[in-house]
């Protein structure tokens, strides 16, 4: 079997494992949809609109939660799943087989990307059907797709890099969530941030803000032109590249040495 065929075959098994694991299926898949419903219930009737006039809160939350989907399906899912596989010796066992190690990781990434695509489509349709949020037209659709692709690549790389900072399975949820949740709150994902305060400046250092900027632009009715956010994409991509280098240098296949 060629390595590509092996990878596709591995995707099948990783995909099966993902959906059968209630924890990963719930936290990765149900979370964004649940937040979509909660935020719309809380803020749906308010006059307040993050985009100014002629726009609803749902027009903000639809793309914002698409960004969140990328983070949960790529970053959280990969960081937690790979740490679990490493600490349980699954990665070590894999390394003792003829399967090239990259095939295993590529399959996990592929499953994360598939879940992301599914979530993005569900959220887009959900917004359209229940909250009358128009899907992006041909004008801004390419910008949305590019933002999602760069975002998925970046957050997969950050997830892999993060595994090297997580010492064991018990620490995984704490480390992974503690690093991402504060950013979700200050980066226009859970709450639209207005103005130019200190939080906005802090958020601008990290990639979450640039992901939400790039994705939201395609949905913003006031966006002029194609909606491509070159600067945001560049900063996000730089984070992705740095994370990839770190992952390549620091990645561990074996559990922390036993006694």
């Amino acid at each position: 079997m060629s390595d590509v065929a092996l990878a596709l075959r591995q995707v099948k098994y990783e995909n099966r494992s993902f959906w059968r694991n209630p924890a990963s299926a719930f936290f990765t898949f149900v979370f964004p949809i649940m937040f979509m419903i909660i935020f719309n219930l809380i803020f749906g009737n308010s006059k307040y609109s993050p985009f100014g006039s002629n726009a609803t809160v749902s027009q903000f939350y639809t793309p914002a939660l698409m960004a969140f989907s990328i983070i949960t399906a790529c970053y959280t899912n990969i960081a937690m799943g790979v740490v679990f596989a490493r600490e349980n010796g699954i990665l070590k066992r894999m390394r003792g087989t003829p399967l090239p190690p990259w095939v295993y990781l590529a399959a996990r990434i592929a499953v994360s990307v598939m879940v992301t695509v599914l979530l993005v489509v569900i959220i887009g349709v959900f917004g359209r059907v229940f909250y009358h949020v128009k899907l992006p037209g041909v004008r801004t659709l390419p910008a949305l797709v590019v933002a999602l692709v760069v975002g998925a690549a970046t957050f997969c790389a950050i997830g892999l890099a993060m595994t090297s900072f997580v010492p064991n399975v018990d620490a995984a949820p704490a480390v992974v969530n503690a690093t991402i949740f504060p950013l979700l709150f200050i980066s226009d994902v859970f709450i639209p941030i207005q103005g130019n305060g200190v939080l906005t400046h802090i958020a601008a250092i990290f990639p979450v803000k640039h992901l939400s900027n790039a994705v939201i632009a395609a949905y913003n009715p006031h966006t002029v032109g194609t909606g491509f956010k070159g600067k945001d994409l560049a900063i996000m991509g730089a984070w992705g590249a740095a994370a990839l280098i770190m992952a390549l240098r620091r990645f561990r296949w074996e559990p922390r040495a036993q006694s």
Binding site: Y13, I90, G96, P100
Partner: protein, 304 residues
């Protein structure tokens, strides 16, 4: 006879700790070889060097003609590795997991045969997370067999098992032997080595201290007879000719005798003459366990 594993002058240190100090091993194809020793003696270090997980500091290592440190795919296709306590994909079924691993090898063993060898037929369609510890360990062996390897590494396959689970694992390993596989087993159970292996090396503090078929290992010591008895507290000292005695672990006196008839004659003669009762008098051949404990005693004391 072809050589499956050839190790010469193997050394490995972790910092200042010398885990393996110049070990030589030669294992023929088709042999069941057991590396026996207490925890921390260097067993896992050696087996993981042979498997390609760890790098050696010095010496030459050949596994099926390959240097395992190079981690070549061609070698991995021909060996099976059963590591110590490793997890498996929890949410796949037994059959799915074995099937997944089979796919990595050019000439895998048929699925049904593998499940049969390890005796997991009844659990075939159950998810891994529902298996007992012993069943999971047999699944580990099943995964090790997926590629129909010529050489199988089994690192402590029954540690922590209850007697029934051990017996079932031994049956599974004996099935492998009947398939003609070369097996490299590590264990700290004497009876396991005795039951499964046709050659045993005892390792202590990173050195091989004895090597041979289980029955003849350290042959001279096995040929000695052990006489044990308890001396009443106020009994006189033993005659000088019986002074080679050492206290047994249970407080009894223990004499190793090359000629037990002579020793017993002297001992009982002395006892009758002095009116001493020899309580719990026992004459026994040393078990392999006794030899093993003696061979590895130095290390156990150092570790305590």
């Amino acid at each position: 006879m072809t050589t499956a594993i050839d190790v010469k002058g193997l050394r490995k240190s972790y910092g200042s700790l010398e885990a393996v100090r110049s070990v030589d091993l030669e294992i023929a194809a088709g042999e069941v070889f057991a590396l026996l020793g207490p925890n921390g003696a260097g067993k896992t270090t050696i087996v993981e060097i042979l498997e390609g997980y760890r790098r050696r500091d010095a010496g030459t290592v050949s596994v099926l003609g390959f240097d395992p440190a190079r981690r070549e795919r061609a070698l991995k296709q021909r060996i099976g590795i059963v590591l110590q306590s490793t997890g498996v994909e929890q949410f796949l079924t037994v059959a799915e997991v074995i099937e997944m691993y089979r796919g990595y090898y050019p000439a895998p063993r048929p699925l049904d045969e593998i499940i049969d060898v390890v005796g997991l037929n009844e659990k075939r369609d159950d998810r891994v997370k529902t298996l007992s510890g012993g069943q999971q360990r047999r699944l580990d062996v099943a995964i090790g067999l997926a590629g129909d390897p010529e050489l199988l590494f089994l690192d402590e396959p029954t540690t922590g098992f209850d007697p029934g689970a051990r017996r079932r694992m031994w049956d599974a390993v004996k099935n492998l032997v009947s398939l003609g596989k070369t097996i490299f087993l590590t264990t700290h159970y004497m009876d396991e080595a005795q039951e499964l292996a046709n050659r045993v090396a005892v390792i202590s503090a990173g050195r091989i201290v004895a090597e041979g078929p289980p029955r003849s290992i350290a042959g001279r010591e096995m040929s000695h007879t052990i006489v044990r008895f308890r001396l009443p507290e106020r009994a006189r000292a033993l005659p000088r000719s019986l002074k080679s005695s050492v206290p047994a672990t249970d407080g009894r006196v223990q004499i190793e005798a090359a000629d037990p008839v002579k020793v017993l004659h002297e001992l009982t003669g002395w006892a009758l003459e002095k009116g001493v009762t020899l309580e719990e008098l026992e004459v026994a051949r040393p078990t392999l366990e006794d030899v093993y404990l003696k061979l590895t005693a130095g290390e156990a004391e150092a570790a305590e």
